[in-house]
């Protein structure tokens, strides 16, 4: 074995030990979801006629195509049942795999744990090699198990295998992306952020590509998530497409190792420059802004770009609808204007969920500051606990508002320029701002968890993902109504927003305030914990 890889085996064992709950949970989760979806699909669409009708309607709905992609064989029960999983669940898988790789590379490097291990017989490349190996094993296990689950659920075995391998290959491709990101950036947060940003861009690329007529344009072929859809499992099983993510791995993995060889432990590619020798930070609010503004800036840029792109997709909505079935559908839901509204409403509610994710990440700064020991130094001064906690929480609330304002304006601007209707800017801005209280509720949940069970801060993400999954797949899973009602996103008013939305918005705001009060009360009375 090469010297730089020495100790890879030990690192793999360490990684598996650390992830002994996480990985089985993820793998079993994906397999279980696959199985229940296969079974539910067969129940929902027992006959060919109902399948074709549903598939045609989905293919004709622009917001659905933008979000999930197309169904390439309307007669295929597998393609129809799994429509939401080829892009959407794949993106979630990609995020998880990016987190996994960064967790075992840059995060360990930043915390100094790798320095501790580096004193032993540990080669320079061992951490990255072990992270990628663990990721490869996890992806294969997840893909093969899901394939077996789909087959057990009654779907054809060939398509199931194509689908499972698609997940595995795409997950691995994004692991490689994260491996590169971990070398280029100097912090774990930045590496994860870069990877998630990359995933979002590839998702948007395929959305635009899939909406093009006829069929996917070249943009879909520029996106690893698009590749996964072009495998067309259960609708042709194009095995050769699997070569694309494999090829991407063959390019990115050696690149990551080359980048690692070019830098020092703990350093990014850019050398650290000296900063000001005197500080201008006057208090905890300044500090919160200083620690958080970069992340908000990055999210803002992404929101504006994403907003303009999906807003401008409105013009494609009408063109998609050339089949008689679709034309009939339009008439039933109220004509072209209603269709535009429905499309924008779907996009805006997605931005609402994304803004909530930002709110959680900003509010969770509280926990990461406490766990890293920074809070101890601050609370040793005349700063009170509430003042300090309020600084980060207020930033989270303000950040959510800014993001949704930007989303509303940019979606509106994109749509207005596409269809030549300036009134859309105002309409979509109001609709986007109506998503703010629900996102605040999630930030409130993060604060409440911080106040009462700080070690569970990471579970807020699981909670958010569960809400998203429930909203997206709840009906498919036969989830009870009261459970689905728990989600704040379900109570967010959709476009067009009028005065009728006020009670729901007020209730959500009160819920967020109550959660925040609960969190502050817990934080006032508990010990500082590492």
């Amino acid at each position: 074995m090469r010297e730089t890889l020495a100790g890879t085996g030990v690192m793999i064992r360490l990684g598996l030990r650390r992830d002994r709950w996480l990985l089985p949970f993820w793998i079993a989760g994906f397999a279980l979801i696959s199985y229940s979806t296969a079974v539910a699909g067969a129940e929902l669409y027992p006959e060919l006629g109902s399948r074709v009708e549903a598939a045609t309607a989905l293919n004709a709905t622009a917001s659905m195509v933008a979000l999930f992609g197309r169904i390439y064989d309307p007669t295929s029960i597998g393609a129809l049942s799994l429509i939401k999983y080829t892009a959407f669940m794949t993106a979630i898988l990609a995020v998880l795999m990016a987190i996994l790789v960064v967790r075992h590379t840059r995060a360990d490097e930043e915390s100094g744990r790798l320095e501790l291990l580096g004193g032993g017989r540990l080669g320079r490349d061992a951490p990255l090699a072990s992270a990628l190996t663990i990721s490869l094993g996890a992806n294969l296990a997840l893909g093969l198990l899901s394939a077996a689950a789909l087959t057990a659920g009654g779907l054809p075995s060939s398509g199931s295998l194509a689908f499972g391998l698609g997940w595995a290959a795409t997950g691995m491709a994004f692991s490689a992306v994260a491996g590169v990101a971990a070398q280029v950036t100097a912090s774990a947060r930045a590496a994860t952020g870069f990877s998630i940003g990359f995933i979002a861009v590839t998702y948007a690329l395929r959305a635009v590509g899939d909406l093009a007529e006829p069929g996917p344009s070249v943009l879909s072929w520029l996106s690893p998530i698009g590749w996964n859809q072009q495998i067309r499992a259960f609708a042709g099983d194009r095995w050769w497409v699997l070569a694309l993510p494999a090829a991407l791995c063959l390019v990115l993995v050696p690149a990551a190792f080359a980048l690692r060889a070019a830098r020092d432990l703990g350093a990014g590619l850019r050398a650290e420059r000296p900063g000001p020798s005197a500080g201008s930070l006057a208090g905890v609010w300044d500090l919160a802004v200083r620690l958080q503004y970069r992340l908000l800036l990055a999210w803002s840029v992404a929101f504006v770009l994403f907003g303009v792109v999906i807003g401008s997709l409105v013009s494609n909505v009408g063109e998609l609808l050339n089949s008689p079935n679709a034309q009939d559908l339009i008439r039933r839901i109220g004509g072209q204007a209603a269709l535009t509204d429905a499309f924008l409403a779907a996009e805006i509610s997605i931005m609402g969920v994304l803004a909530a994710a930002y709110g959680v990440s900003a509010a969770n700064h509280l926990r990461s500051e406490e766990a890293s020991g920074h809070t101890e130094a601050l609370l040793g001064t005349a700063t009170t606990r509430i003042r300090w906690a309020a600084s980060h929480f207020a930033f989270a609330l303000a950040g959510v508002t800014v993001l949704l304002l930007l989303a509303g304006v940019s979606i509106g601007a994109g749509a207005a320029s596409a269809v030549g209707d300036a009134a859309l800017v105002g309409r979509s801005t109001v609709a986007a701002l109506a998503q703010v209280p629900a996102a605040w509720v999630l930030a409130g949940v993060a604060l409440a968890v911080f106040g009462w069970a700080p070690r569970l801060a990471g579970m807020v993400w699981v909670f958010l993902l569960a809400l998203v999954a429930l909203g997206e797949f709840g009906v498919l899973w036969n989830a009870p109504e009261w459970l689905m009602e728990l989600s704040p996103f379900r109570h967010s008013p959709l476009l067009p927003v009028d005065s009728g939305a006020v009670p729901a918005l007020a209730a959500l705001t009160v819920a967020a305030a109550a959660l925040a009060a609960l969190g502050f009360a817990g934080w006032r009375r508990r010990d500082l914990t590492a």
Binding site: E272, P274, S280, H374, A377, L378, T381, A382, T384, L528
Partner: protein, 328 residues
């Protein structure tokens, strides 16, 4: 004298673990108080309770006459704290951190800050992520020492500092003392506490087991005596207050309690004393009495001066400066 810190019967439990078990701790105004104990004995927990970072499970705590849990802002304006484990924001420079902490504390003396930066030879324009452990420690020290606090709580403040910087730190503490400020200095470095402290408290397993001025505590421990004699008389080891007698040829070494010194020296003189070295009890001896192995110490006292059972000879030579192990 007024008490700046008063802790009575303080208990702190973390779940099933009892970190502090009925701790009594008192610091007088204007003194430098050494707070000694090994890792895990409860030093940092005690300091965090004094800051209101933790909440006591039982007992009463007053700091500068205030309740640290409830009067946080009023209290913290009057004290400065250096955590045991200094964590800084990686993308802020040292200068920015110092100024931020100073502003948050209240009074931040700019000139004093610059003087301290020079004294500790710290470059404030570097990003915190590039600082070594010692330099991170300096950032926290400069931030604390540049304030106008009445009480300084320093948790192992010199860990990571080189000897020159340690010296600079000692100078700062003496300066604070001369200004009538109170300093609580937690440490496991005995020479440091010995050099600086007016009084020390020793904590063991969550309790203060010994407290008082150094001179007073020294009476509690034994003096190491080494003597070369013309002929070693029998029965040295049955003299009262004489322990751990080891005879090698004409040389005798023993640990002697203050009360036993007179008779022991008489016995040595009458045996033809040729040379004598005695080592006053150091803080280290104090420490070892409480930590080395309490039960071995008790056994030695109980069995008295009989050799054999009580023979837990300290292998290190007296005055060798190294930590001597008692369970060898």
């Amino acid at each position: 004298m007024d008490s700046v810190v008063e802790m009575t019967g303080v208990v702190k439990r973390f779940g099933a673990v009892t970190a502090l078990d009925g701790l009594d701790f008192e610091v007088a105004a204007g003194e430098v108080h050494g707070f000694l104990g090994p890792n895990g004995s409860g030093k940092s927990t005690t300091l965090r309770l004094l800051l209101g970072l933790l909440r006591s499970s039982a007992g009463s705590i007053r700091v500068l006459g205030l309740d640290p849990w409830h009067d946080v802002a009023a209290l913290h304006r009057r004290l400065a704290y250096v955590p045991g484990d200094v964590a800084l924001w990686p993308n802020l420079t040292g200068g920015e951190v110092i100024d931020l902490l100073g502003r948050l504390q209240g009074v931040h003396d700019r000139a004093r800050r610059d003087r301290l930066l020079e004294l500790f030879e710290l470059d404030p324009s570097k990003k915190s992520r590039t600082y070594s452990k010692g330099n991170r420690q300096k950032v926290a020290l400069v931030a604390a020492l540049a304030t106008d606090a009445e009480l300084f709580l320093l948790d192992e403040p010199t860990s990571g500092l080189d000897p020159l910087m340690e010296d600079a730190f000692r100078g700062c503490v003496r300066e604070l003392r001369a200004q009538g400020r109170t300093v609580v200095l937690s440490s496991h470095i005995l020479s440091e506490a010995e050099a600086l402290s007016d009084r020390v408290s020793i904590i063991r397993a969550g309790k203060v087991v010994e407290t008082g001025p150094l001179e007073q505590l020294r009476h509690l421990t034994r003096t190491s005596v080494t003597a070369d004699l013309a002929a070693v008389p029998p029965g040295l080891d049955v003299l009262p207050g004489v322990h751990d007698v080891v005879v090698t040829n004409h040389r005798v070494t023993a640990q002697v309690e203050p009360a036993g010194l007179g008779p022991f020296l008489d016995a040595l003189t009458s045996a033809g004393l040729q040379s004598l070295t005695s080592q006053p009890p150091t803080l280290e001896d104090l420490f070892l009495r409480h930590y080395g192995d309490i039960s071995a110490g008790d056994a030695a006292a109980a069995v008295g001066t009989t050799t054999g059972r009580s023979g837990v000879p300290r292998p290190g030579l007296p005055g060798d400066g190294g930590r001597r192990s008692r369970d060898a």
